[in-house]
Amino acid sequence: MEELRKRAGNLLESGQVRVVIGYGEGTGKRVRAVFIQDAGQADCLIFDERCRQNLALYLTRHEVKKLGKPAIVASLPALRAILQLAGECQIAENDIVVLGIGEDGSMLDLPDFAAIEKHVASTVREPDPAEKAQFDLVLAMSLEERWKYWQEQLSRCFKCYACRQACPMCYCSRCTVECNQPQWIPVPSHDLGNLEWHVMRAMHLAGRCVDCGDCSRACPLDIPLYLLNRFLIMDIESRFNQRAGTTAALDYALSTFHPDDKDDFIR
């Protein structure tokens, strides 16, 4: 933590960056994102096991962009998000400084995207056992059971779009849900609109989701959104051998194709 504060302070003092995006103490033992613009404030940066939010989300927000060149505190999910954002031309290598944090909590030296790619390729994070069990449970259900399960889960959704706001990949300045001519997704919360919204969210993140799980954690109604994303992640990995957030080049499942892609259902 001391090293993190020192590096952040130096970056601000030397003028290499204008803002450090990191974690700080919030209210009631919770952590919150902090945006430090003054070297003297670098001491309020923290990093511990509570710091799970994917801060890469803020890299594309215009309120943060206008503060100037950022440095960002990034553990594995954020590092993957940074690579994916770079692949989608949302951030450039020279426009950010990455304060990488390893799986053991130590600082990483990540001067460029190539170093991030190398770190991401060499690091494995096992999925949460409870989440994996839930995933297998849904997968083992019959078609009718899956329909009932999702209708029940999604019926709670009241379209607050917290899942979208928490997602580092949902950076479109105008989302399809806000289009009203035509109205793709109905505004009120009802079974049809809820299903359409969640199918659309999953599909628009297909091949792009870095599996940080922030959408599920942001959901005030505990809808297991990670199941949809994880299904597509596993499907893409097994069919196309691709995984989001592994390369800073534009190469994700739906940005490309292979003439020999295999399907077993097209007549």
Partner: protein
Amino acid sequence: MPEFEPRIVAFVCNWCTYAGADLTGTSRIKYSPNVEVIRFPCTGRIDFMLLLKAFAEGADGIIVSGCHPNDCHYTSGNFHARRRWILFRGLLDFMGIDVRRVQFSWVSAAEGAKWADVVNTTVEAVRKLGPYDNYRQIARSGGV
């Protein structure tokens, strides 16, 4: 009670399947009238949301059809579409939507007979499955 007549919506590309369906007609091949054809510039243009909208509007089954791989008028539209369908179809299944009601096919402009066969077999398959009550029920909740 009259026999259930499935309502099938077909999303087809302009260059191959639409022309193929035209050939079915000019060849005077008779096929099921349950299908309503919607013409698109390319299968790459067929957004997955359109398929959901078709179900919401009361379709019991859907056909999506375009040029064979390597025959796309725009070179690669159908390759991109194929990837999208592979993922979308899996996701629908994972969410409990009956993918037996969605038939994907490649029908070229010379395959008038194949188009008739695709339509007829899809209509019969959906007739056996019955009306898509599950989706209609949630569509009603949205006041569609």
